[in-house]
């Protein structure tokens, strides 16, 4: 459900301007023409914020604010005062009443958005309703580094993803790019001149549309001071050079909560298949474990009672593989579903050497696995 903002202003023009400012955000707007109506709507809707005009007929903003602050049910609602009167005396009077902020007319839309975003978490419309983004979606990654060689290296390193990496050399260009479209993630070199990375980070966090974008700092492993400062100010993570691109992909995936389950889990011939990829690393195992319970539970919910764990492309049975295999088999037992395992020759042989896996029975193909499970292939 969206956040609620109540605009109390006798001018329909101002109410329309405020409503227009937030039309791109997931906000439920409410309006009132004076303080009396404003208090009634506030009592009924309990908005997350009230934007309150000062000069109004029937009950002005000052009186409404006084009544609001004396009502135990309503006094916690933050108020931004909107006034055409910017004199020092007036500002002091408003401040004493406990308003969170005030805005002087005339005002620009982006100023009201920026002020409101300090109080209310503004989410672009549709974002909350969108389905979870997938790893194979064409994400936009903004890369800010004044060294063209690093930009080239990162563009090349992420070339096997569908992500579009947009490299720029300065904070000014980065903000310009953000003005044209909000990136899904930002990578910033912490060694930009004049602490540019930290200035850019603050600007991104101050922007209503960019404040939730994950921002990673790029630096050499030995730049401990920069890393500590970045973590202190709230960078989403640190990527150290030389860059491990698998690590970069995983960090971005986790920060954005990307769905990667489709890479490992499929439905085939009426059974759930867990496909372990040839590059089976601890990070991949962790990624699979993040989805394992949900995927298996959903399959059971939808009526499936069989699972195939396909390790046929895995080259060795190390502790990571064994732990994942044990977790998968334990979950199958817990949910009372049948399972079968397909193993490469190496995995099949190596598993005979471990106490935990010596009793695992492998087959060599999907068809054999179906046979073990008492299922049969569905004609394509």
């Amino acid at each position: 459900m969206g956040r609620k903002i109540l605009t109390v202003d006798d001018s329909k023009t101002i109410r329309m301007i405020v409503a227009r400012a937030f039309k791109e955000y997931d906000i439920d707007m409410f309006e009132a023409q004076n303080g009396v109506e404003g208090l009634a709507v506030a009592s009924r809707e309990h908005p997350d914020l009230i934007i309150l005009d000062y000069t109004m007929p029937i009950m002005d903003g000052y009186e409404m604010l006084t009544k609001l602050k004396s009502d135990p049910e309503l006094k916690a609602i933050p108020v931004i005062m909107l006034t055409a009167e910017a004199g020092r005396e007036n500002v002091l009077k408003i401040a004493k009443q406990g308003v969170r902020d005030y805005l002087i007319k005339p005002f620009k839309e982006d100023v009201i958005i920026e002020r409101v975003s300090r109080i209310v978490d503004l989410k672009p419309k549709g974002e909350s309703a969108d389905k979870t983004k997938r790893y194979d979606d064409p994400l936009g990654i903004l890369l800010v580094d004044d060294k063209p060689a690093i930009i080239e290296q990162i563009v090349a390193g992420l070339r096997d993803t569908p992500w579009k990496v947009d490299g720029v050399g300065s904070t000014g260009l980065a903000m310009d790019r953000c003005g044209r479209g909000i990136p899904d993630a930002v990578l910033i070199s912490l060694s930009l001149p004049e602490t540019g990375a930290f200035t850019l980070f603050q600007m991104l966090r101050a922007g209503a549309k960019t404040k939730s974008v994950p921002v990673f700092g790029l630096c050499v492993k030995t730049a401990a001071e920069d890393q500590a400062r970045a973590q202190q100010v709230g960078f989403t993570g640190i990527i150290t050079k030389p860059i491990d691109f698998e690590d970069v992909k995983i960090k971005i995936t986790r920060a954005l909560g990307l769905d990667t389950s489709y890479k490992y889990f499929t439905m085939k011939d009426g059974v759930l298949v867990l496909n372990l990829p040839p590059t089976f690393t601890p990070s991949v195992a962790n990624d699979i474990l993040l989805h394992l319970r949900n995927q298996v539970t959903s399959a059971v919910d939808s009526g499936l009672d069989k699972m195939v764990i396909d390790m046929s492309t895995v080259k060795t049975a190390d502790i990571t593989l064994i732990k994942l295999g044990l977790s998968s088999l334990q979950l199958c037992a817990e949910l009372a579903i049948k399972s079968a395992m397909i193993g490469s020759d190496a995995v099949t042989n190596e598993c005979k050497n471990y106490e935990e896996t010596k009793d695992w029975r492998f087959v060599t193909s999907h068809a054999e696995a179906l046979g073990v499970l008492g299922a049969s292939a569905v004609a394509a």
């Binding site: 001018s11 329909k12 301007i17 000069t55 055409a84 009167e85 004199g87 002087i104 007319k105």
Partner: protein, 158 residues
Amino acid sequence: MIDDLEDLLKAAVVEVFGTMIGLQVQPEAPNTPLVSEGSSIAGAVGFIGKMTGVVYIYAPVPFAVRLTEKILGVSASEIDSDEMVNDSMGELANMVVGHLKSRLSDRGHSCVMTIPSIVRGTNFQIEPVSTTIRRVFSFRSLEHQLVVEIMLRPETQA
């Protein structure tokens, strides 16, 4: 009396129209003849206190409609009533006077503002009492003339 009242008022008009509408309004030379373009709308806001007066902002109806389109970000066909145009003109006057009042208050001339009101008509004239100080300035924008009139009661009578 404020010596630079004219400058304060012109600055307020330029600031309000520039910020709220993104519209450049160009002050015309003193004594530029006021041109009648037929029916006009005037937004009026008063201020009462250590300084007392009223400011009128006049615009020919077609210009007022253009201003309403711009301030609300709507097309002419979406302006379904005179009320929308009235409200926009009233709000513009309110902001101009608010801007002026803030500057006056900071100089010790504190006052409170009235609720905006609207006058519509053709060839109407405001006839102030003889003791009232009256100033008229004009601006040009979008090929129309915008007229701003301020009437002040002398401070000794406030």
